[in-house]
């Protein structure tokens, strides 16, 4: 099945776009200025299509609106407010299904399966180590500007945490690593994410990750009904069939999964093999990547660096062990590569972690 790309007009984000624009308008921005560069008008968004198909747009459109919004509206609270309002009312049928999940892990699994309907701009990977689970986020649509990255991360965190608080009654103990520099509007993190302690939220990290105790993920919700969840999912599939929708996950996530498989077995996956696997020519793959401002080697480096950082800061593995896990021939090669990926040596990253 084909993954959605940055310019594919398949995102069902009419409601999200409208909410962004309404929130920004309440804060003094003009709707037309917010939609500048998207070839859309406010009326297009409020209009209901005659053949009952929802207005779809591309990730590019959403990103443009987010960028405009970050520039036009001061205060930086829109991303958080959007997140808090996202679950479950903005998600339609998926919201119903999520409301009837057995536990948090079940909800997260649905979010991963229905990436396009849930968090189309982010890839979510879940790793576990000892008794903790790690939710790792990465852009699903290629390179983002720093405004966009911050907005989307804040939106997603506040939506996730809002859903957790809503379903669990209170917010479980969490820890957040963020891959951008400390922001000016830290008070929003204090209040909306309930992250009062600087030990629980760390900026300037090389990985974007939410840490939660694994047992929290499996605490059962007593008021969930499996039958309602199954019904909602069936209805979703029907709607998808009617609208000819077949883009469950992002193009980048498909690529990453395929390359990951190869890397795990120490099979170097060449660009040609990869293109062949997905049924493209090598040049087409290159073009598709370029439209996301990515390149093939960059993706491989990114997968390996994220793996290395995870092992380093979470598992506290030695350089030898990480180098071994990533199939480096020796440790010094690993150190050099790590420096190239992250700008710091493995040891300096360890020191930085001790400092926190």
């Amino acid at each position: 099945m084909k993954g959605y790309e940055r310019h594919d007009e398949v995102l069902n984000t009419q409601q999200l776009l409208l909410s962004i624009i309404d929130l920004a308008t309440q804060r003094g921005a003009h709707p037309d200025k917010l939609l500048k560069g998207t070839k859309l008008f406010y009326n297009d968004l409020t209009r209901v299509n005659v053949n009952k198909k929802p207005v779809t747009c591309s990730a590019n459109t959403l990103l443009t609106v987010i960028e405009n919004c970050s520039k036009l509206v001061k205060g930086n609270e829109i991303s958080f407010l959007l997140g808090r309002r996202y679950f479950p009312s903005h998600l339609g049928l998926l919201g119903q299904a999520l409301m009837n999940c057995r536990h948090l892990a079940d909800m997260l699994r649905l979010c991963q399966c229905f990436q396009l309907d849930c968090f189309p701009l982010m890839n979510l990977t879940i790793k576990t180590f000892n008794d903790k689970s790690y939710l790792i986020f990465q852009s699903a649509v290629g390179k983002l500007s720093s405004n966009q990255q911050i907005f989307i991360t804040e939106f997603m965190l506040s939506a996730l945490l809002g859903a957790m608080k809503y379903r669990c009654g209170e917010l479980p103990e969490l820890k957040i690593h963020l891959d951008y520099a400390k922001v000016q509007h830290i008070e929003q993190y204090h209040v909306h994410l309930n992250m009062n302690n600087h030990e629980n939220i760390q900026f300037d990290q090389q990985i974007c990750m939410l840490t939660i105790a694994s047992k929290q993920l499996y605490l059962p919700f007593n008021d969930s009904a499996n039958s309602l969840k199954v019904l909602a999912l069936q209805q979703m599939r029907q709607v998808a069939k009617l609208n000819n929708k077949h883009y469950p996950i992002s193009f980048t996530l498909q690529l990453i999964r395929y390359i990951n498989q190869g890397l795990a077995n120490n099979v170097a996956v060449s660009q040609e093999c990869c293109a062949q696997h997905f049924g493209y020519s090598s040049a087409t793959l290159k073009r598709k990547l370029a439209s996301h401002s990515l390149n093939y080697q960059g993706i491989i480096d990114n997968i390996r660096s994220q793996q290395a950082i995870f092992q380093l800061i979470i598992c506290h593995d030695s350089n030898e062990k990480i180098a071994d896990a990533l199939y480096f021939t020796d440790v010094s090669n690993f150190r050099k590569a790590f420096k190239r990926w992250t700008g710091m040596t493995p040891n300096s990253m360890r020191e930085q972690q001790c400092f926190f």
Binding site: E77, H190, V191, H192
Partner: protein, 316 residues
């Protein structure tokens, strides 16, 4: 407002005097006095009048406006125009030798720049005024920057508060007077939003902001922190005084019968309130973190739901 802002403008006044003396001494140094039959008294009257009038304008600007960006723009624009006129005026009694004739061609140069800057300044002034209309007393201290207001409540935003805390820390440290910060959190605001809609939630926030400002002194500052939280800066205040104020605010808010739209039913809000005293030795960031932790502890000690008269409160 019956107070002059001139005392906050010492840097600008110094710049003004420096520029004026520089222009006058420069013209005297480079040229020589004309003989009396060369002087055109009619021109002197006209150009001298204009110079003095622009100087008066600068004076008015400095007296009527607090320190800030727009004031700086207005001041620079007027100063440039004043420079041009002064140079023109000096022309009337000073003759430049041929090798220094560039000064006469230069004299008209600052004026157009000054006018452009003035136009920008006036446009910003207009925008600032629009923001100020929505503002209340007790929501601003010394410095004005309309870009830092919070659109929903009309109070200043957390960014402004952070700047003020920075100043207050320096002041407290040097004067050895403690100050207190108070944080006010509305309980179950999410639920209110879900029940009545976000527009009503915003209205509620605005009214609560107003009630808080009604309960504090003129030298205090109330700002919106984020979402449903407010923060109040009480300079030169110990915890005991803050405790009294906290009691006042709690009482007022407990009696705020908010009506949703044209609905007759009154909605009473419960709040969590905590305050903390600082002596100026803390860092800017530490201050807020300590206050937030305090809020967290207070919330845990007073779990929801509460009775109507047992508002969450803790002062230490």
């Amino acid at each position: 407002m019956n107070r002059s802002f001139i005392k906050y403008h010492s840097p600008l006044v110094i710049i003004l005097f420096f520029v004026l003396t520089a222009v006058i001494s420069c013209t005297f140094a480079l040229g020589e006095l004309k003989v009396s039959n060369e002087i055109d008294y009619f021109d002197i009257l006209g150009e001298g009048g204009m110079t003095i009038i622009t100087l008066v304008w600068i004076g008015f600007i400095l007296m009527s406006r607090p320190a800030g960006k727009v004031t700086n723009w207005l001041f620079s624009g007027l100063l440039l125009m004043n420079m041009s006129m002064l140079l023109d005026f000096m022309d009337e009694f000073i003759k430049y030798p041929d090798n220094n004739a560039w000064l006469t061609t230069l004299d008209s140069l600052p004026a157009p720049f000054g006018m452009v800057i003035m136009s920008i300044a006036l446009y910003q002034w207009y925008q600032e005024q629009m923001t100020i209309n929505a503002q209340l007393r007790r929501t601003e201290r010394v410095y004005r920057d309309h870009t830092l207001t919070d659109f929903i409540t009309g109070l200043y935003s957390a960014k402004y508060m952070k700047q003020q805390i920075k100043h207050q820390l320096l002041y407290s440290k040097s004067s050895n007077k403690p100050f207190t910060l108070m944080m006010i959190d509305i309980r179950q605001f999410d639920q209110f939003n879900r029940q009545h809609g976000y527009q009503q939630g915003d209205n509620l926030l605005r009214e609560i902001g107003q009630v808080i400002t009604m309960n504090i002194r003129d030298k205090d500052l109330a700002c919106r922190y984020a979402s449903d939280r407010f923060i109040v800066l009480l300079p030169d205040t110990s915890n005991e005084t803050a405790e009294t104020f906290a009691w006042h605010i709690e009482n007022s808010l407990a009696n705020l019968a908010f009506k949703v739209g044209s609905d007759l039913k009154a909605n009473y809000q419960e709040i969590t309130l905590c305050s903390k005293e600082y002596n100026g030795t803390e860092s800017n960031y530490q201050v807020l973190e300590l206050l937030n932790l305090k809020m967290e502890v207070t919330k845990k000690q007073n779990p929801y739901p509460l009775g109507n008269n047992s508002l969450g409160k803790q002062v230490a």
